[in-house]
């Protein structure tokens, strides 16, 4: 099919699809006039039931915890796919030149990386109290590693993120989430049902099993992003000769 024919076909069908979608959304409640019951119910009961002030985190790690487990495994599977496609034990490493020569840039970079690491830990730890959580904090943690590469060099980054250790951390995160669910089963309730003392609302020690799921997802997300970055970065150091393998 030539590009012209394909574009013509697409424009006709896309016009139809867009018309249908617009027709569909025209019957939705007016913007700002939310009518679904679940959000209202959760907003009024979650703080009392789970002692977490961040209702979004309560939904992610409790009320819809099974859904989040599915998402975690999508994440895990796609990172495994990337590793499977790009990881090549036989490739020869090429010497990567050290690009950053300025000590000032290095110092600033390391300083920012340390700050970012602390910020990431903070966002993870307070995820179920204030805006944040395992997913967001995990990405911030991973970006601290990326900053080490930007301000330092490839070798500094690689020595900070040895692939076997990151692999284990990611798997621990994914497995840990499931283990928390199995503990709920062993305690005689439904899979991923909240257990443990609920603690005081607004304090770090609150939310029952939500903090455990929060930390598990932070481990998995940060490991996943560091691993993705490592795999793509390793493409830089593959010798051109090895590419035809």
């Amino acid at each position: 099919m030539s590009r012209g024919v394909r574009s013509g076909l697409f424009l006709v069908s896309a016009a139809g699809l867009t018309a249908l979608l617009l027709w569909a959304v025209a019957d939705l409640p007016d913007f700002g006039h939310y009518r679904g019951p679940y959000g209202k119910v959760l907003n009024s009961v979650a703080v009392g039931e789970r002692h977490t002030t961040n209702v979004v985190a309560a939904v992610v790690f409790d009320y819809r915890g099974v859904d989040t487990m599915g998402e975690e495994f999508i994440l895990f599977a796609s990172v495994m796919g990337v590793a499977l496609l790009l990881r090549n034990p036989h490739r020869e490493r090429r010497q990567v030149p050290v690009r950053i020569q300025s000590d000032a840039v290095r110092l600033a970079g390391i300083g920012f990386a340390a700050g970012l690491l602390v910020l990431g830990l903070y966002v993870v730890a307070h995820g179920y109290l204030t805006p944040g959580g395992g997913f967001q904090g995990g990405v911030v943690l991973a970006s601290a590693f990326v900053l080490v590469y930007l301000a330092g060099d490839y070798h500094a980054y690689r020595s900070m993120s040895p692939t076997p250790a990151i692999d284990v951390l990611g798997a621990t995160g994914a497995g840990g989430y499931t283990v928390v669910g199995i503990v709920s089963l062993l305690l005689g309730s439904a899979f991923l049902h909240n257990f443990g003392p609920l603690g005081t609302t607004g304090k770090l020690a609150s939310g029952g099993s939500i903090p455990f799921l929060n930390v598990a997802s932070a481990l998995e997300v940060s490991a996943a992003f560091v691993l993705l970055f490592s795999e793509f970065l390793d493409e830089l150091v593959v010798r051109p000769k090895a590419r035809s393998e």
Binding site: F10, F31, H33, V55, V59, V82, P131, E235
Partner: protein, 114 residues
Amino acid sequence: MSYLPYALAVWIFAVGLYGVVRSRNLVHLVVCLSVAQSSTYVLLLSIGYVNRGTAPIFADVPKGTRAVDPVVQALTLTDVVVSVTVAALLLALAIQAQRHADTTDPDELSEMHG
């Protein structure tokens, strides 16, 4: 009184699809797919919005304050993270295509067999 946010989601989806169909490069195609996918965030968040509602986080505001729907926010949150990793998987496939077929043009790829 406005349907504009929903129409915006439809528009983002449509331009993303257009980019996918017209793409001449797999990397460009992955980016267009991400654009199309981001329409779901706009749709989900605008469905859950409540007029003059605050974020569904009751750390600084008293319980019972009018807040937006937390469920769609939770869905969007996991969706964002997962979509990035799926995009990474697709980019890895683009690297493999370049390696094995020596091209990242989807049109030329479809002519290759084996």
